[in-house]
Assembly symmetry: D2
Homo-oligomer: 381 residues x 4
């Protein structure tokens, strides 16, 4: 750790997630000014030098690297932030941990449960601070949902359901793999919507509703062949375009999950709902400042779903921003995670989800994919 | 009054409102079976015999008339229901009252305040039962709004606003006047949207929020000339296509009202909202089974507008219909008004709004039209 | 068949469904006046004479029976309408068919696929007119969805999902079985939410999206024991309180269905959504006059889900009712089915779903229950 | 102007607006990296040194001032950004202009039309770049509305309506004036909701729908006396708590506007709607990423309001942010205005609204306040 309580960041990967994290590091200084630890954008790494250079210029990184191993080896880096495609997560994270660096890793941990387990073991052996970027937990409405559930207002839980619906891969002429499209290459991504989208739904579900014990899943690849950008050949598509699963939670509730990139009309419709004996909660990423809440304790003739606009100063994180009624956006979830990570350095706690906590999501994903492959229920716990 | 507690109805007018009322009379037997008084469809009157005959066949009226004076003169009619264009309301109502008949009159009472006042005087002199068909009061969600307000939950009232937005007369080729279009003929209708649509908004407002003391209004006729169906000539349009007004209520709150037939995209969007110190209420005719309610007494971080689906047995009128969650429609407001009228015969009370109560709406309408004509505030009380 | 084109109805069962059907028969005369065949409420049958008498008085049935076999034997009955609990459907339907009566049967056909198959065979052997009351098909918005799909606007279908969420049995003190609660007695109902609620979702899905080929299901009974109203004893609950299933349709699309009576805050939230290559459709029973539609052919920056208020005269069935913007309710779906049945007498066609068509829903329900019991995928076709 | 195309900013005022502007300056570098001009946070000015110091530390300003005249006199300042209470706008802006500085001024220009006119004259005489922070124009959905209107899709305009509803001053114990509450002190703010909230509505309306010619307004102060923070005395409240007005636009359309801080349940509900012959548009600040659009050219049975989620790369400003479906927030409107101001330096154009353009909003506000005071229609043009 640097003196002055700087946290010197080395970012690996300059894609979409590299941008969201960089923005998070830059803004936390303005909106969480009282924190002792301040992120410093020390270095960014990309294979292509020009790309690294442009990114560093845009975001204010002090230096660049083109070999991630060199970045990890640098003494002036306290924490490594992994924003590469999924197939590089494990190798980098393990190396970074072994080098004694803190590790902040994009989700999902890795392509398979096995690969993810290796990362967790390495991190825990090294004893370094770590977190996984399941950012949606830190949207104020989602955090408020967690607080309501923890308060016990819902009573016994009966149902949990979540969807993540997109429509961006319907066009059969969209190529697979390569620049900007590695999420469609099974070798790189590990899976399709399961690792990319359902992992978010599962992370939130485990956080809000506890462990999943058994699953039965179904997957489909609607477009069977696509041109691969790297080879130029038409190749079989290896990822799951859509995945649904039913499950049971440890607390006795039933779960139902669905994700697809073929739901025409939905861009990023992540929704979840939880039904308890005494109250229910719903949320929708397309209207992310709002939480819907039904309280059965309300007066009989006046019961109804409340549309809570989560923009008041006494609601999670919102004392940092503007005034009541003025919404924030997607990117703020990353600012909040950076802030919570910085806070964890100060308090000595952990910044959830840790690698260990995130591993359970990979475990569920693995069971889901196995169940779909075998056409049978799979037991997790 | 007939023995057997029959209420023998004579209906004058076979248009849209004739249908809604007839349906109301027919259904009340099935859904309010315990009531002592039962409507009997004794006679229907229309100028054209074939039209009266077809209507009688369709709705089960026992006989027809082509001269409303004959209908009123019949001994076997207890109550006269006036569904004619507005220009006939006064003459018929006054004659019916003088003949000792109960009178149920379509809204608005008449074309002007003066004309309406004559009707009220005649009705009160005759001492006959009467009601005016401001049907929206009896949609369950609107009645629930009244109950909430009467309970005092809102505290001091600050604001009342209402809109009634339609788009059916935008086409400049739509003719005016005559069959199906008398609402566009100022001589027949008295006014345009003010008497037709704003009168509904005003009736609800007076019921929910008390008297209006002063108004400032603005009207516009967007299409200045239209072919008149009866003359075949292009003639100036005399009605107001749109009307807005600001007002003050006796209770100190401010009002804002708007109505138009030129709001592209809205078919019959009647909405109102009332803001009180402690709570607020909103309603929308396009989603008529729902009432929105905000209660400032809710726990701070969980405050939000509640969407109350008014379909439970303990909500107004809903014990008569189906099971929770299954909505009713526009027409049910008329069934409820018939039921309440029948009940008033049994209990000896009145069925609001009476002619006297409805007169206040005409008074406000008159002040609104006068204000718009003069470009000045008008005082009512 | 009676002369005068009367259709003389004998109704068996005076519960909730007896009311909705009776209302349908009564109203069709007013709103479909041009039809040749007119329903006549000839007789109603209930085990308890006083109950049958009260129902006949309320709805205008000419006579009563307390033994359904006598009703079926009457010469003055053309059509038998079965509104009994599910365990009586088969016996009555088969006897009615054998007596040459037309049969209109409440859904689902029977408790099991086997039992339902017997009914279909009997009906087809007798060659009598028949229909099953899957009423939701005839809500205007749902019929419009069918028309859009049939027009080919959606292109290749990827996803179908439907939910039917209620919350009325959460209270563990609610007894099971007996008067008003036979839906909670497995011996009478055959199953819980699967036959009661999912059957509606499945009927609509088969109609809109074609046959289902394979299913994997999960059921749960949250409250394991309840007092039985008839015995007074605490007894095991045999029904499914909740049921979810995944499936594949013949057209290659994926399905996801869920039903429960434990979703706090939802009274009767039947929703469905279908995602096609070019367009998508959504619907929600709590806002039944509305259909949501996304058309990918809309101009790029202006694409969005359209909220279609299905109340215009050129939309299905709506030329029968009021004027644009004025909604109808749940009960109208039954009026429409009666009208379509009457029309089928005139045209010689069938009134869907026929017993044969409805059998497929029972087949899917059976596969769902079997799958849940066995924890394995089941193949239907 | 500095070499290197720096734009050296001097910010005066450290309140809520100081924060939103500072954030705008800081972020534009990351999200508009190709721009030649880059804002540099040179100095911030506040009367209290410790406050200025803390603000400078939090936002990265290089230096501080406690006397705004010194800030204006500095050679290393290119542009002065005025975030003070309204009563200081004119003096500072005029002095800054005379000193040859560019001026970016918070809205409204000043307390009165007269005062504002003086600012415009000074700015134009000095010939310096200028803009007024009517930030809502640059929310992507609002900019999209402008583009739709400019494309002519709406045809002849009939109606424009806008509301800005808040509820934060209902509590009668809230003091007036002083730190954080200058908006409630008429001497400082000039007016209440008219200058604060209606000015936003008017700015958008003038931009989207052209000039307003006549107005009739009504204002109210619900709580007549409040403790003043600075004097400690109970004093009369001079501001308007609520203001409504009707108006006519030059294009022949009718306008209706309302603003209040007494609408319980609404935090910052700025909504507008515009109805044209062929299409209509609606927007709502509480759901700021969405635009509602009704196109009468859609196929008859499929017409409906479209809910456009304005988060695609081809929609205004959204190519700068994330991926489709992921919303942005309130603060982004300021980032966009900074970016457009920087762009105007590069292109030589102006950044709307200029002082001259913003003056028209003050003119309307003045007419509104005069109309309310006099109880008469006021003519503007």
């Amino acid at each position: 750790m640097a003196t002055n309580k700087e946290l010197r960041i080395g970012l690996i990967g300059c894609g979409f997630m590299g941008r969201t994290h960089s923005n998070g590091y830059l803004r936390v200084k303005n909106f969480f000014p009282e924190q002792q630890y301040k992120p410093v954008l020390k270095a960014v790494c990309a294979r292509t030098e020009s790309k690294a250079r442009a990114f560093a210029d845009q975001w204010g990184y002090e230096s660049i690297e083109t070999d991630w191993k060199k970045l990890i080896a640098r003494d002036d880096i306290d924490a490594v932030d992994i924003c590469t495609p999924n197939d590089m997560h494990a190798e980098i994270a393990i190396a970074a941990a072994e080098a004694g660096k803190m590790v902040l890793c994009e989700k999902p941990l890795a392509r398979t449960y096995e690969e993810s387990l290796g990362m967790v073991n390495a991190i825990e052996k090294a004893g370094v601070k770590n977190t996984v970027w399941y950012n949606y937990r830190r949207l104020p409405a989602v955090t408020l949902a967690k607080q309501i559930i923890d308060s016990g207002k819902l009573g016994r839980i009966f149902h949990y359901r979540a969807n993540f619906l997109q429509d961006w891969t319907i066009n059969a002429n969209l190529p697979q793999g390569g620049e900007g499209l590695w999420r469609m290459d099974a070798a790189v991504a590990g899976s399709g919507v399961t690792g990319d989208l359902l992992s978010h739904c599962i992370d939130t579900a485990l956080w809000l509703n506890g462990s999943i014990t058994t699953v039965s899943a179904m997957t489909e690849t609607f477009v069977k062949e696509r041109v691969h950008q790297l080879t130029g050949n038409v190749q079989p598509v290896g990822i799951d375009d859509a995945c649904s699963f039913m499950c049971r939670f440890k607390n006795g509730s039933l779960g139902l999950f669905e994700s697809t990139r073929y739901a025409r009309g939905h861009k990023a419709l992540y929704t979840f709902e939880i039904n308890g004996e005494n109250a229910s909660i719903r949320w929708d990423l397309h209207d992310l400042n709002r939480l819907e809440f039904f309280d059965n304790a309300d007066q009989s003739v006046l019961k109804g779903w409340r549309s809570i606009h989560v923009t008041d100063g006494d609601q999670p994180y919102m004392n940092r921003w503007w005034v009541p009624g003025l919404g924030i956006g997607y990117e703020h979830s990353f600012v909040h995670q950076v802030a919570d990570f910085m806070q964890s350095l100060e308090t000595g706690g952990s910044c959830s989800p840790t690698f260990r906590e995130a591993l359970e999501t990979n475990q569920v994903c693995q069971a889901v994919l196995d169940s779909a492959a075998e056409g049978a229920w799979k037991t997790i716990h």
